[in-house]
């Protein structure tokens, strides 16, 4: 087992090594590395056709690009959104699936059940309404302390699902079908068979969200969030309007959850309340914490793993959920901060430098 631990240390060292090399590069080199990475990501659907690599990444029982879109992209979007709420602002939300559902349902209602809007128009409306739901839920509940907030949000997620299930206007348990698909653009046809255009669209959404969150995180807003997470009272005494910023975190998180819902609804064309069970909220949270709560890239990695691994491990058939549960426990025992824990400042660089100095000295 020490072998495994050792291996693990190596892998993480490799990544941190990457980080340092990255910082050491000049601007031009850095941007080209980014560019190459982005292009490679957009080419992901073709990876299974590559020899060797394809063997490793391909999902045995299901279509790889569909998994990429329907599972991975959706989970990554959601992990990004939930990470704002849980990871950065430190608000425990166990009902995140509610916002995902709102996004999907608004799209469904506007483009199919009670309207005939194009998907592209439904998108902003759905995101805004999801944010409104965040606001509506957050205003009364954000005064509650951590664990109380958790159960209230959990209840909220259930209320959303059950309301959808019980109201004929929302399609009740039949759900809503014939949801409009995204319009064909840039030569991409959003049909039923080919998942690739959806993946490109979803990946673009992910990049946009990363861009926005990156800007938020390294601004007054992001600092306020982290300050609230670290010590809410101290933050307030340092002049942070904690309620306002908590509400913002909730609202932005809700918006991203809603966006994921819009994308999902547009892709599948059919939703019903059973697509939004309570267990999904828990899975979302697991993704964020597994990857590294508070670290955007950790959350992304968590989202990828939680979405992709069950498909990759289809051979385990009915044991994959069991394996998932055990892995969660093991991860939390041995790496409680997640796979990519949040990093603060440049201390790790300093530490390394210092240890090198030490070596020279001795």
């Amino acid at each position: 087992m020490s072998l495994v631990l050792n291996f693990w240390l190596r892998v993480t060292a490799l990544f941190s090594g990457f980080g340092e090399q990255f910082r050491a590069m000049n601007k031009w080199q850095r941007y080209s590395a980014y560019g190459l990475g982005v292009v490679a990501l957009y080419l992901l659907p073709y990876w299974p056709d590559v020899p060797v690599l394809g063997q490793i990444v391909n999902t045995p029982g299901s279509q790889f690009e569909t998994v990429l879109n329907d599972q991975v992209v959706i989970f990554v979007l959601i992990a990004l959104g939930l990470n704002v709420v849980v990871g950065i602002a430190g608000l425990l939300d166990l009902g995140y699936v509610g916002f995902y559902a709102v996004g999907a349902y608004v799209t469904a209602i506007l483009t199919s059940a009670h309207g005939n809007l194009p998907w592209l128009l439904a998108l902003p409306i759905a995101v805004v309404i999801s944010m409104l739901f965040g606001l509506i839920l957050g205003t009364p509940t954000l005064r509650l302390r951590g664990d109380y907030l958790a159960i209230v949000t959990l209840g909220f997620g259930e209320i959303i699902r059950l309301t959808a299930k019980n109201m004929d206007w929302l399609g009740a348990s039949r759900g809503i079908s014939n949801i409009k698909k995204p319009p064909s653009m840039f030569g991409l046809k959003f049909g039923v068979l080919d998942a690739k255009p959806y993946f490109y669209l979803g990946l673009t959404m992910v990049f946009i969200v990363i861009f926005i969150l990156h800007r938020l995180e390294y601004s007054r807003v992001g600092r306020a969030w982290v300050a609230i997470r670290e010590d809410e009272d101290a933050a307030e005494l340092m002049g942070v309007n904690t309620f306002k910023f908590k509400l913002w975190a909730f609202t932005i998180g809700a918006g991203i959850g809603g966006l994921a819902g819009v994308h999902y609804a547009g892709k599948v064309g059919f939703i019903n309340p059973d697509n939004f069970p309570l267990q999904l909220s828990i899975l979302f949270l697991a993704a964020v914490v597994l990857g590294g709560s508070g670290n955007m890239y950790g959350a992304i990695l968590g989202g990828i793993l939680v979405a992709y691994m069950p498909e990759r491990l289809r051979n385990f058939s009915d044991k994959r959920i069991l394996v998932f549960g055990i892995v969660l426990v093991l991860m939390m025992v041995f790496r409680p901060e997640g796979i990519l824990p949040k990093r603060v400042g440049n201390e790790h660089k300093k530490r390394r430098a210092r240890s090198q100095e030490g070596e020279v000295a001795s």
Partner: protein, 258 residues
Amino acid sequence: MSEVLLDFNNVTMQFGGVTALNEVSLQIKQGEILGLIGPNGAGKTTCFNVMTGVYAPTLGTVSFEGKNLAKLKRFEITKVGIARTFQNIRLFSEMTALENVMVGADARKKASVGGAILRTSRQRHEEKESRERSMELLQFMGISDRAETAARNLPYGYQRRLEIARALATEPKLLCLDEPAAGFNPAEKEELNELILKIREQGYTVLLIEHDMNVVMKVSDRVAVLDFGQKIADGLPADVRNNPAVIAAYLGVEDNAS
């Protein structure tokens, strides 16, 4: 110079039957360093918390520049111009030193979510301002060499100073320091004394809660003594030092014991 900045008028504070402060009146004048001393548990920290809006007084009023603080929310008190440090250090431990100070500096900034996403010119300007001001403060406190270190990894002395820097960043009129010398050795205390005086020179009014007589007596313009929730003395350091009531309460009951 002698304008009253903070007026503590007949404040009583009770917690479930226990009286922590009993009709305390206290004034802090513009530009002075007021030392507040008293035995542990005498009510200094409660006094402090009432002042910074953590608790609302049971009776009496606290006003700052004539404005009643009771109605204000906690974060608004910072905006009015009161900043504080904490007895048991409460930094944002997962943020760098610089970010900690920037949170303080942000108190005076306006840009919010929209500005941050769009990177408006105002936001960029404010961001730059915050960063520069925070860096200056770190330099002022002599801890800028560890600006990029996570607060939790800073040495103790740095953490204490970082708290002061963070408080200063909110551009307070009144800076409240809660036992800033706790855990310092004499040399460090000496440095702290100088620092406090330097802060005052910059135009801040300082309220200093401290246990160490060396620190309090050396830097304070005026010293108030709390004991058992009551103010028992208020005056120049030399006078307070020789006040029999203070000696009895604070320095031990030496006279009736001997």
